[in-house]
């Protein structure tokens, strides 16, 4: 499989006043297209920092980051915004929907910043994604009228609407009960099986089981990198 994203000798150092705190200390990884990767590790291991760099929200202190065939580590703010808008989809732990918008409008937001014209056609596409995550009945609801699981499903639909290369999920089930977590993971797994590349941060082993590959970080370095044995969805859900 071709690597859709590669990081080479990634270093990220935070300057906390006089103290320099290394968060990533020479991480080299390749992410294959169509893979489902779980990033694990204790807090402070650098997994969130890695996700931020992969999400083009943060720039590494040194090292390279190739997304497709573009080196994005040294890009300016505007170009990074464009990369996020074109190639990346985000799912957050706390859903991060915009409270002023309805379900369908929230799904539409990434298109708003792509500079494409919002038409009845794009609106139809957003409605399709809403239906896909099972919220076709609640298009005009506001986030505060939805349950946590429903909100996360809106967030998933939103992360898909720009047809991204990579979906980045930051503890997508962290705020959900175990039954809803399973629902969400089933959804992500189905997306992955239809060809989407997903990189997910989690600290729960149960959740990491759903991924195909598990990378553990410790002290800013890769501790282990293993492939999960292939299990069916039914096995995982039980």
């Amino acid at each position: 499989m071709a690597a859709i994203a590669r990081v080479i000798d990634l270093v990220k150092i935070y300057n906390m006043g006089a103290v320099r705190v290394p968060a990533l200390n020479g991480v080299t990884l390749a992410f294959d297209e169509g893979d489902f990767i779980a990033l694990m590790g204790p807090s402070g291991s650098g997994k969130s920092t890695l996700l931020n760099v992969l999400g083009c929200l943060d720039r590494p202190t040194s090292g390279e980051y190739w997304l497709g065939d573009e080196e994005v580590a040294r890009m300016g703010d505007n170009s990074l915004s464009e990369i996020r808008s074109k190639y990346l989809g985000f799912i957050f732990q706390s859903y991060n929907l915009l409270q002023q918008y309805t379900v369908v409008e929230n799904i539409e937001v990434p298109l708003l910043y792509q500079g494409i014209r919002l038409t009845a056609e794009t609106r139809r596409r957003c409605i399709q994604y809403a239906e896909m995550v099972g919220l076709g009945e609640r298009l005009d609801h506001r986030p505060n009228q939805l349950s946590g699981g429903q909100q996360q499903r809106v967030a998933i639909a939103r992360s898909l609407v720009n047809d991204p290369h990579v979906i980045l999920a930051d503890e997508p089930t962290g705020n959900l009960d175990s039954r809803t977590s399973v629902e969400i993971m089933q959804m992500l797994r189905r997306l992955n099986e239809s060809g989407k590349t997903i990189i997910m941060v989690t600290h729960e082993n149960d959740i990491a089981q759903w991924a195909r590959r598990v990378i553990r970080l410790r002290d800013g370095q890769v501790e282990s990198d293993v492939r999960n044995e292939q299990r069916t969805m039914v096995e995982l859900a039980s």
Binding site: D77, E82, R84, S85, F90, N96, L98, Q100, Y113, Q114
Partner: protein
């Protein structure tokens, strides 16, 4: 790239965000609203009172020049042989005035108090001996009948025209036209009655406030024949006598006050008249020349100063309003830090964030501006009836008038300034919002 769709979305979002905090938004635009109301109403009332003042001056005749006889203070009756004082304008002065080229009309007047009798009723009126041109030069309106004619003057007819109050007092229940009154032993046939005439204001120059409603007008020649040169005036038990050929001469200059050249013409004629009088009367200052145009220009200058002051006040209140907006916008940016982070993560560029907050500020100030304009217009229409109501039910503000004239340009200017205030004071908070670090912003609670 700022597409129309994006702008449209931003506008909707801005309105929704403002609607989410109705009270806060309303309070923050209060300054803008008050500023706009102030501009609209003050300028409307300012313009109204200006028009009122100018109308008052135009009633006197803006292109008129008024020359009056003035009793000199140093001429006392005790020292002289006669108790009759001789002073004032002469027919010779008048003939010389007529030689000034731009003067199209000139009216001579003799004015003195006289008792007017009708059966057993006596009215303490003012006799005005004048020529037919008086009607045209003073732009008077008749309630009934006609004014004096050339014929009346030439043949020294015993006819008169009554002022509104004179007519009302002497003929309370009948039509005065065709009836007669007696003035100083002679009967005069009434040919016309004047409409109620506003007194002229007494400000500026030597033009004292003048009341016209208790006048009686008779032909000048008739006046000269019936009363002679010297007139004895009886008042509160004592007599004063005077020998005045003409009390007042009013001239109209053939010019318009709307152009500079026209105004120059009026002023030149005024100077010529002063020269003639100074030559004829020497050191005796028994005349006064009034050019109403001077008052017109005074009034205009005052108005301009007033307008400038209003602009300063409006500017201050709009600046205060703008600071209010900025304050709230800064708070909003802090409050919506997380939203900014989400938008940045989903691909919003810095300038998208700037536009979003800028549009919100501009929408706010524009709505405030519109509300202010509407309240201002309402105030202009509702204030005068309100004052009337107060004077009716409370014993206050009697006769206080608020003439108002709604102008279009202050409305346009206030709206434009409201938009500008939104841009200027929204820019810094919007810039602050765009500089937030996406990761920090996402982590913000």
């Amino acid at each position: 790239m700022l597409s129309f769709a994006k702008l449209h979305r931003s506008l909707i979002l801005a309105v929704r965000s403002l609607w989410l905090h109705k009270l806060r938004s309303a309070l923050s635009v209060l300054g803008i609203i008050i500023g706009n109301v102030a501009v609209i109403t003050l300028l409307a009332f300012g313009e109204g009172s200006k028009q009122d003042a100018l109308e008052d001056i135009r009633r006197t005749g803006a292109t008129n020049i008024i020359v009056r006889s003035v009793k000199p203070p140093d001429v006392s009756t005790s020292g002289s042989r006669s108790f009759i004082v001789q002073y004032g304008l002469t027919h010779k002065d008048f003939d010389q005035f007529l030689t000034i080229p731009d003067i199209s009309r000139a009216v001579r007047m003799r004015v003195f108090p006289q008792d007017i009798y009708r059966l057993n009723k006596k009215f303490n009126g003012r006799l005005v001996g004048t020529t037919p041109d008086y009607a045209a030069i003073n732009k008077i309106d008749l309630a009934a009948g006609r004014f004096l004619t050339e014929h009346d003057d030439r043949y020294m007819e015993n006819v008169c025209v009554l002022g509104a109050e004179t007519a009302d007092y002497l003929f309370p229940f009948e039509d005065p036209v065709g009836q007669s009154v007696m003035i100083s032993q002679h009967f005069y046939r009434i040919v016309g009655v004047m409409k109620d005439r506003m007194p002229t204001g007494g400000t500026g120059g030597s033009l004292a406030a003048e009341e016209f409603n208790n006048d009686v007008y008779i032909p000048l020649q008739t006046c000269n024949v019936r009363f002679g040169q010297a007139v004895v005036i009886r008042s509160s038990g004592s007599f004063t006598g005077e020998n005045v050929q003409l009390h007042q001469v009013t001239m109209t200059v053939d010019a318009t006050v709307d152009t500079k050249a026209g105004r120059e013409k009026v002023r030149a004629a005024g100077n010529l008249i002063r020269e003639i009088l100074e030559r004829n009367h020497g050191l005796k200052k028994d005349f006064a020349v009034t050019v109403p145009l001077d008052r017109l220009e005074d009034a205009e200058r005052t108005q301009d100063r007033f307008t400038a002051l209003l602009f300063v006040i409006a500017g201050i209140s709009l600046a205060v309003g703008g600071i209010g907006i900025m304050n709230i916008m800064l708070a909003t940016v802090t409050e919506r830090t997380r939203e900014i982070g989400i938008r940045r993560a989903l691909g919003a560029k810095r300038r998208d964030i700037i536009m979003q907050f800028l549009i919100e500020a501009v929408v706010q100030t524009t709505i405030g501006g519109l509300i202010g304009v509407l309240i201002g217009i309402a105030a202009v229409y509702l204030f005068p009836p309100f004052v009337e109501w107060i004077s009716k039910y409370f014993d206050a503000l009697h006769g206080v008038k608020f003439p108002a004239q709604l102008l279009l340009w202050p409305i346009a200017v206030s709206l434009a300034v409201s938009v500008a205030v939104g841009v200027v004071f929204g820019l810094y908070p919007a810039w602050r919002a765009s500089r937030l670090d996406p990761i920090e912003a996402l982590r913000h609670e």
